[in-house]
């Protein structure tokens, strides 16, 4: 009998709380889809050493379980309150509290089970979409491959079960405390509007706004972690107090009989809004936090995504580029190996030179925004002691400046399809990373680069280089075409000089650039690494990488030091690593967003009985159908917009700050606003779908059963 009752009640709940059911279905579908990355990752075979995706998905799952458990807990309490009268009747009829608790638990578990099963079916389809997206991110083709994996299923069941276990554990205790009278009275009490100390509470609104303004002004300039933590705690408190202040502010405005309330149905709307915000101020605060996190998560994912879309291809312009710290390396074994594995169209070994000085390094460290004023004396001149320490210990730049001969440079430019450049005898050029092009415009004014003295004897080497009468070179141009400058063709920069100037410099290290036909086989880079390890074992003693001819430049967020850079392997591998950050971030954002909007929708829809009565009264007072529809739309819009707008204001600052840093550090050619705007657009898509469903159901509920 109880089972039948539970089933019937569940069916009713499913109808009344359709939005909740759909969201739970979506969440379980997402859980299945992303859990499949742990067990059925078709890409894993290409990167079996990368565990990052698994770790990130597992981490995301923990957050999602917590938030979903909150949603279920919220809904269980919510439905319990709404049905308190009904529960009172069950108890009145003689049902025991334990049986009632069991009945309610059964209903909820049944509801969960239905959403889990339908979610898994949807998840199987979604998984195909996710794999197709992932494969296309790696630049690979994906063939549909529908399969159920017991691991994925068990993991989804366990995750979903955890959500229910966490949220339902307190339910039984709640039933124990209930009395028939309190159950019957509960509903009436919900309607009571308590207004106390409103003028005092009203002050919370300007205070919250003040704090938010302060947050916009100061966030990013806080120096210690303690300050930041304190500020963020203040922010969370502000989020919650904002709603108390807002509601009190509106109530005070109405009490003061402000002019706005005497226009049309404004009085009704404002009262409705204030009382709604008042009764669920804590929930509104939590929703704002969830929206904020969702916006931040998706913005971060978009940042990484934009780097991948716009810059990853440009990071490795050469098909294959091999580094050797041995300046005399001829790469014979590598060339032989490559000829066996791929079809080289062109093989070009060359050297990077140095003059043993580090004035260019010092210039970079004192002029690039990445380093700020860290390596400057108070008067702005280079702090050479700190610079030497940096160069020796950090491995970011080579110890000495890096140069390339014009003929090598032009040859490489030809390989990449760029136009060749011309230099006169007394000129040099700068090849710089795209990101830094704007920052090095003044380099030509500062550098003092020596040419070749007229009576130069190559045999005496560079010691004679700066002898008296040495002509100085002038800067003929700055080139920022992608040129593999993460340690291969210099770190951040290369100074291009006429070949004759090289005569007075040391060869610093060797490089081999290879242009191949078609794409490289998947594991070519690892094979080249093994080959190099074997070959250089004997050479390692004298390996001058230890003497500082290796570095990776000033990139901070994406640093991938590859001695053997095989474009096809690296771009796919980095794309996979990026996907393991962006995909879980989107996953979290999506679930957080859906959970929050579901609570908003359910709140409105479940109260439609009250609203129906209120709108019916308005209708009797002579409000037209159109006006009522507009009023409903205004009510829902205000209710939906409030936490979303607040979240945009809060996350906006953080996203813009992170975006600016991201753009500065990576050189992604987009505005930091674009991440925020795109996130909001994505957010709006989902938000509007829920809003539309809520609006339609709301109007239907209001219209149904009138007169």
């Amino acid at each position: 009998m109880y089972m039948k009752l539970a089933y019937r009640n569940m069916k009713r709940s499913a109808r009344d709380y359709l939005v909740y059911l759909l969201t739970m279905t979506l969440i379980s579908a997402l859980m299945y889809t992303f859990n499949s990355l742990l067990f059925q990752n078709d890409l894993k075979k290409y990167w079996d050493s990368e565990e990052m995706m698994e770790v990130m998905v597992a981490l995301a799952t923990v957050f999602i379980i917590l938030v979903t458990a909150w949603l279920i807990g919220y809904m269980v309490r919510f439905m319990m309150e709404k049905r308190s009268g009904e529960f009172g009747i069950y108890l009145l009829l003689g049902m025991k509290k334990s049986s009632l608790a069991n009945l309610y638990l059964r209903e909820n578990i049944l509801l969960g089970f239905i959403s889990l099963l339908s979610g898994i079916l949807l998840g199987i389809l979604l998984r195909q979409v996710l794999m197709a997206v992932l494969f296309s991110m790696m630049g690979m083709a994906y063939r549909l491959h529908i399969a159920l994996h017991p691991g994925t299923l068990i993991m989804t069941f366990v995750s979903f079960g955890c959500c229910y276990l966490l949220s339902l554990s307190r339910c039984r205790r709640k039933f124990k405390k209930m009395s028939i009278h309190s159950l019957m009275e509960a509903r009436r009490k919900n309607e009571e509007i308590r207004e106390k100390y409103e003028p005092a509470k009203r002050l919370l609104l300007p205070l919250s706004i003040l704090f938010i303004l302060l947050f916009w002004k100061l966030f990013g300039s806080l120096e210690s972690n303690g300050d930041t933590a304190l500020f963020l705690t203040g922010l969370v408190i502000t989020i919650y107090l904002f709603y108390t202040g807002l509601s009190a502010f509106i109530i005070c405005y109405i009490r003061k009989r402000g002019s706005l309330i005497y226009r049309g149905a404004n009085l009704f709307l404002l009262r409705q809004f204030a009382s709604r915000v008042r009764t669920m101020q804590f929930t509104m605060g939590t929703l704002t936090v969830l929206f904020t996190l969702a916006l931040m998560g998706s913005s971060l994912a978009l940042m990484f995504g934009s780097w991948q879309a716009l810059l990853l291809d440009r990071k490795y312009p050469f098909d294959i580029l091999l580094y050797s710290s041995d300046p005399g390396d001829t790469f014979e074994r590598e060339i032989q190996f490559l000829e066996e594995k791929v079809t080289p169209l062109e093989v070009y070994p060359y050297r990077i030179y140095t003059d043993g000085d580090n004035q260019v390094n010092a210039w970079m460290l004192t002029h690039l925004s990445a380093w700020g004023t860290m390596y400057q004396n108070p008067d702005g001149s280079p702090d050479m002691a700190q610079i030497s320490d940096f160069l020796e210990n950090r491995g970011i730049y080579c110890l000495c400046d890096t140069y390339m001969g014009l003929s090598d440079y032009n040859h490489l430019r030809r390989m990449l399809g760029y136009e060749e450049i011309e230099l006169n005898d007394n000129e040099y050029a700068v090849q710089i990373k795209e990101r830094l092009e704007k920052e090095v415009q003044g380099i030509g004014d500062d550098l003092v680069l020596a040419g070749v003295p007229e009576a130069f004897d190559p045999a005496s080497g560079s010691d004679a280089a700066l002898a008296a009468g040495t002509p100085l070179l002038t800067c003929a141009g700055i080139y920022a075409d992608p040129f593999s400058q993460d340690g291969h063709n210099g770190c951040d920069y290369l100074i291009i000089v006429p070949d004759e100037v090289l005569a007075r410099m040391y060869p610093y290290y060797s490089e081999l650039a290879v242009d191949i036909e078609g794409t490289a086989p998947p594991r070519l880079r690892e094979e080249l690494d093994t080959l190099r390890d074997a070959r250089t074992a004997a050479f390692r003693e004298a390996d001058s990488s230890l003497c500082g001819n290796m570095g990776y430049g000033s990139d901070i967020i994406f640093v991938f030091l590859a001695v053997n850079a095989v474009k096809d392997n690296l771009t796919a591998s980095i794309a996979y690593m990026l996907a393991s950050v962006t995909i879980p971030l989107f996953y979290i954002s999506l679930v957080f967003l859906c959970v929050a909007v579901t609570v908003l929708s359910v709140q409105q829809l479940s109260d439609s009985a009250n609203y129906k009565f209120r709108y019916d009264v308005l209708r009797k007072l002579g409000l037209k159908e159109n006006a009522i529809r507009t009023l409903i739309l205004r009510q829902l819009t205000a209710y939906y917009l409030c936490p979303a707008l607040f979240a945009v204001v809060i996350s906006g600052k953080m996203v813009l700050f992170a975006g600016e840093r991201f753009v500065m550090m990576t050189g992604v050619p987009v505005s930091s606003y674009s991440f925020l705007l795109k996130s909001i657009a994505l957010f709006l898509g989902i938000y509007l779908s829920y809003f539309a469903v809520t609006c339609v159901s709301f109007m239907r509920n209001i219209r149904g059963g009138l007169h």
């Binding site: 509007i193 002019s259 009797k620």
Partner: protein, 255 residues
Amino acid sequence: MDHYIRICDIEKYYGSASHATKAIDRLSFAVNRGEFVGVMGASGSGKTTLLNLLAAIDRVSAGHIFYENIDITELSEDALSDFRKNNLGFVFQEYNLLDTLTMEENISLALTLRGVAKKDVQEASAGLMKLLGIEEIRDKFPYQVSGGQKQRCACARALANDPKLLLADEPTGALDSLSSQTLLETFERLNKTLRTTILMVTHDAFSASYCRRILFLRDGKIFHELLRGEKPRQRFLQEILDVLSLTGGSAGENL
């Protein structure tokens, strides 16, 4: 005689063609300006249906209802809304006050919906609250006041638009006897001093005794009519009870 409202041969059916229930059966009567008319009848006699038709909340199946020269059965939904807004006031058994608004705000809203200016809204609602004796509870919410006070507030709201007709559906149904008496005396006063036309549906003889004329309804038809004339209220009450004792039982059994 100045016929203010004319109900001409109206019918109202519910249900489908095969199972139609006739709620109002070819009913005709007229209400004069400034009259206080009561409609009595057992449950199911059609009195609330009649009120809904007069209030333009429901549509007639046949017949016409004229307010002066306007036939409301011919009006569109939007025009009906305007008509309700400008001509009718409602008082219901369940008060129908908005729980999110205070007493004063409930009255003000009826005026702001009609686009009345702020100053006039404040003056009018203050006047109505004074008239109905609810000034002291102006800032209370419905849940904080008694049923009688709620009903007087509903009454004030109904009067806010200076209606041609005040429609009351079992207004004392949820009130104790003292509150009922206060409300009915208020109705009587409104009718006498402001010449408000009132049509009240009730099944309570005591309430009905405050009316000037009573229509008795059975099976959707008027089967009797009582006029108070110059009779004292107690005698009129006795007459009503006599009619009910003669017919009430059979009306109930017919249901």
